[in-house]
């Protein structure tokens, strides 16, 4: 082993025999606040533009600047976009983590690193490319003060050269990323070119990784789930937004505010057709949402676990007094403050049953960008149709990472405002009571302040069919039974599950939300490695629909895959299912805070099915 990277270069300078095209994982290790985000997004976008299926996961600390950050870009010609555990290419920019990062690599991996760190001395089973970042940046950026900001762009140039990314694509991506910031653009271009030229002159390709265009990105878009949710809310016609900042949900309302300011100012008067209030806390945010919903607005809030906990009491009021509200829960790792910048599906159980007494809420479970968008729209319709809080259960992985998506479709149906009392209905009913179930579906007619219809007194204390105060046992029971009936009605209206794989039914898989993408890949691994043919049903809402029980009946064993410790979705199923069905359910759980990966699921299911586990490189054939 040689002490300098360059020497390593010389020693191993032969053309690699094997090529790996469009199927590897790049991890960039930097320090947050160092401007790496632009460099990472440009790299990501370049690959996207080449039409190669790509996914990006940002693993960042809960602080503003100075702590380690990893951004992982996975390219997959087969279209897998879940996190992959193995890193094929490491870009080591952070002295603090570099040693651990390098030691954690599989043999044969590639390392691009900042030369003074002398990482090549650490192992002799890796391919090292040393790059003198400081020297290059000094040449391309005369202003010493600005060097820190463009330094990272150099690795984009290096990687473009190494993996054969068309520089025109990188330039386009950079333009898109920086927009009209002319000076920044020029500096970044120079840095990128500096890296590219350095690699051309000094680095000899030894790694097998190559990126080849797959025909361009067509009309696909790049978006994160929070922006998708914001767009859905915009198109749903949201009028009142109350929120309190919290990672990872803040960007949902912040993006929405940008859209609202741009597209929802009345042209004639210059006035807003929306109100956004940054509330004093989440209790106030949900209170405002409910107050607005009661008064007839399409109202929403967005939060994460700690906010959900604070909203508990008000959510019960919304359920019992029957007030529409849309709540986005962009889940992060709990309990308590937990890991604020890591992902989880840990609020399922507590949110489904949020608040004291017998409460149950409608949950929507988006898996994709398209669903973060469409389910936002559906949430507003469901909230008004069922006159109740509706939760959209996103997570950090969906909400804050950029994903490739088909473009979103404009809603064709007008909003469903639910059963609003009007003169005609009043005449038909003869007599109106706010909580009378006149249609047998558990949903009563409501009037709004100012609509000229009879008023009622909305309250969270016991009430009868006419909204009068009542402590009578029969009134209470009737009301609770009607609410249960309403929940039953919702069963056939909420988005049903999707059969993602037919399979042979020996092994069934149930999953939801961001877990979906790892399950898809795992199904293929199970087929390839163990000749299994899993049947996979993806859940999209709570309450569960009849398709779920039918699915369980058609499988021998069912693995419920989720990203929490306590098998929360499975616990919800247990509340509703017969013992025979429950007996078929098994859990596959993942809760370290990193997005779930296919290998973990595959290993767990193989173990559950009594197969020998695949070795770490995943090539085992049973």
């Amino acid at each position: 082993m040689s002490p300098t990277g360059v020497a390593v270069q010389d020693a191993a300078a032969s053309q690699p025999a094997r090529q790996i095209v469009n199927d590897f994982n790049i991890q960039v290790a930097t320090v947050n606040g160092s401007g790496s985000q632009t460099a990472n997004m440009v790299l990501f976008r370049s690959i996207f533009q080449m039409g190669i299926p790509v996914s990006g996961k940002n693993l960042f600390p809960s602080n503003i600047a100075g702590l380690p950050t990893w951004y992982t870009i996975r390219t997959s010609k087969d279209g897998y976009v879940a996190r992959k555990r193995e890193i094929d290419v490491l870009v080591a920019m952070n002295n603090e983590t570099a040693r651990d990062d390098v030691m954690g690599l599989e043999p044969g991996a590639t390392v691009v690193y900042d030369e003074p760190m002398q990482l090549a001395a650490l192992r002799d089973d890796l391919i090292f490319y040393p790059v003198p970042f400081d020297k290059i940046v000094a040449q391309v950026c005369p202003d010493a003060k600005l060097r820190r900001l463009v330094r990272n762009m150099i690795y984009d140039g290096v990687l473009a050269r190494l993996f054969d990314i068309d520089m025109a694509q990188v330039e386009t991506a950079l333009n898109k990323q920086l927009g009209r910031k002319v000076k920044a653009l020029a500096l970044n271009q120079a840095a990128m070119k500096g890296g590219y030229d350095y690699a051309t002159e000094h680095l000899t390709k030894q790694d097998p990784f190559v990126l080849e265009s797959m025909g361009g990105s067509g009309d696909k878009i790049l978006i994160d789930g929070n922006a998708a949710g914001a767009l859905g809310s915009l198109m749903a016609g949201v009028t009142v937004v109350a929120w309190y900042p919290i990672t990872p949900s803040s960007s949902l309302c912040e993006t929405l505010i940008d859209y609202l300011r741009k597209y929802r100012i009345d042209k004639e008067t210059g006035k807003a057709t929306f109100a956004v209030v940054q509330a004093e806390d989440e209790v106030a945010a949900i209170g405002m949402t409910l107050g607005a919903g009661w008064a007839g607005a399409r109202a929403m809030t967005s939060t994460s676990g700690p906010g959900i906990s604070l909203m508990a009491e008000f959510t019960g009021l919304g359920y019992y007094a029957e007030v529409p509200a849309v709540i986005f829960d962009v889940q992060r790792v709990g309990p308590s403050t937990g890991l604020p910048t890591r992902t989880a599906q840990g609020d399922i159980l507590s949110t489904a049953l949020l608040s004291h007494g017998d409460t149950k809420h409608l949950l929507l479970l988006p898996s994709s960008m398209a669903e973060c968008y469409s389910m936002a729209i559906e949430a507003f319709d469901l909230a008004e149709r069922f006159q109740t809080p509706v939760f959209v259960m996103s997570d950090l992985d969906l909400g804050m990472n950029a994903w490739v998506s088909e473009p979103f479709e404009c809603p064709t149906e007008p909003p469903d405002r639910g059963k609003l009392l009007d003169a005609e209905t009043l005449k038909r009913l003869g007599e109106w009571g706010r909580y009378r179930d006149v249609d047998g579906d558990g949903i009563a007619y409501r009037s709004l302040p100012g609509d000229g219809m009879p008023a009622y007194f909305c309250r969270g204390s016991g009430h009868d069919g006419d909204a009068g105060y009542s402590e009578r046992a029969d009134d209470y029971e009737n009301n609770l039974n009607r609410l249960a009936r309403k929940f039953e009605t919702a069963r056939s209206v909420v988005p049903g599950p999707v059969t993602e794989r037919e399979g042979d039914g020996k092994v069934g898989v149930l999953a939801y939300g961001s877990t979906h993408w790892a399950v898809v890949e795992s199904c293929d691994q199970l087929a390839r490695e163990a000749a299994l043919a899993p049947r996979y049903l993806r859940l999209r809402a709570f309450p569960f629909t009849d398709e779920l029980t039918a699915f369980i009946d058609r499988c021998d064993r069912v693995y419920v895959v989720e990203q929490n410790r306590d098998a929360q979705m499975l616990s919800l199923m247990r509340m509703e299912m017969s013992p025979e069905r429950i007996a078929k359910l098994r859990s596959v759980l993942h809760y370290g805070g990193l997005p779930i990966d296919a290998r973990s699921i595959t290993d767990a299911i193989l173990a559950g099915e009594g197969h020998a586990l695949a070795p770490a490189n995943g090539d085992l054939k049973t």
Partner: protein
């Protein structure tokens, strides 16, 4: 008169809260405000039950303990054409709800916010509330040793644009204050001393009828002249103060305190501190800033209620979505 009345009260006979409900009914009736134009909001407590007992023709929302301000904020934003009246208790406002109270005052949301202030928690059977005075005694003999929160001083400090204190037993003054509050655009905060006859109306309490009667220090007689009564107000310069309200009404304060000017913030704070040091409480309109920008103006909302804007005004056309999609490519 019927839609101005509510359902039969379930509060104790003699409870100050009932007297306040009566005043609300009269003030709204005399001001000619249609109950269908009003929304009533409250938290939890005996006081928060009151909205059920006035303005039966109005929509009401009895929320959760201490959080009426947020419900009110949402509702008023959703439909700014409604006249909002919130009812709270001193526990509901001063303890569990102090955070929301503070932020409501900061926002100057158009709402009449009434604290029915009895210095104790009525509904949970008589514990001290944060407005109880130091040294005041519970029926059980327990003495309060923490200083009170002066909700009026707090409201002024925070930016409320109409702050008054009154006494449930003073029909004339309370009616005038309520009418003036109705003419105000912005937050009108009314702290109304409202004795709890069951738990806090004994010797040793500073929120009893007897104490209130003896220590009420009116800032002057209040005359309220609504905008629709077109009379020339005659007043003696120097001894009276005339405030023109936002809607053109006039509030005439016949001063007892020679120097008192209710549009002067510092003056208002001085009065509050001086009277409280003497163990008295100043009543009347303590502070008013008739033209302060309210929250609706600040949000630059369209004139129509957001709640009922038609689809074409709230859903951008397909072209907008297409444009956004293009930006994301």
């Amino acid at each position: 008169m019927q839609p101005y009345r509510g359902s039969k009260t379930t509060l104790c006979a003699g409870c100050g809260h009932n007297a306040i409900s009566e005043r609300v009914i009269h003030a709204f009736y005399e001001m000619g405000i249609e109950p269908s134009r009003v929304i009533k909001l409250s938290g939890i407590g005996c006081s928060s039950k009151s909205p059920a007992y006035f303005l039966g023709g109005s929509h009401g929302f009895n929320g959760v303990h201490g959080r009426m301000p947020s419900i009110g904020t949402g509702a008023v934003i959703a439909n700014q054409q409604m006249i909002a009246v919130g009812t709270s208790g001193d526990g509901d406002t001063g303890a569990i709800g102090i955070g929301q109270f503070v932020h409501l005052m900061r926002r100057n949301l158009p709402i009449i916010y009434i604290i029915e202030d009895n210095g104790c928690y009525g509904l949970t059977k008589g514990q001290f509330s944060p407005t109880a005075d130091v040294g005041s005694k519970l029926k059980t003999g327990v003495v309060n040793d923490l200083p009170p929160i002066d909700t009026c001083a707090l409201a002024i400090e925070l930016g409320a644009s109409f702050v008054a204190r009154s006494f449930s037993g003073d029909k004339k003054q309370l009616t005038a204050v309520l009418k003036a509050a109705l003419s105000h655009r912005g937050t009108a905060m009314l702290d109304v001393i409202s004795p709890c006859v069951t738990f806090n109306d004994h010797v040793g309490s500073t929120k009893s009828y007897a104490y209130a009667r003896d220590h009420d220090e009116p800032l002057g007689e209040i005359d309220f002249i609504p905008y629709f009564q077109d009379i020339d107000v005659e007043y003696e310069a120097g001894s009276s103060h005339l405030v023109k309200m936002h809607d053109g009404s006039q509030l005439l304060l016949k001063k007892l305190e020679a120097e008192y000017d209710p549009t002067d913030r510092l003056e208002a704070m001085r009065i509050l501190h001086e009277t409280s040091r003497r163990g008295e409480f100043a009543t009347g309109v303590i502070y008013v800033e008739p033209d302060k920008e309210d929250f609706i103006e600040l949000l630059n909302l369209v004139d129509e209620p957001l709640a009922t804007l038609p689809l074409e005004r709230v859903r951008p056309p397909k072209a907008v979505l297409d444009e956004i999609m293009e930006e994301l490519r």
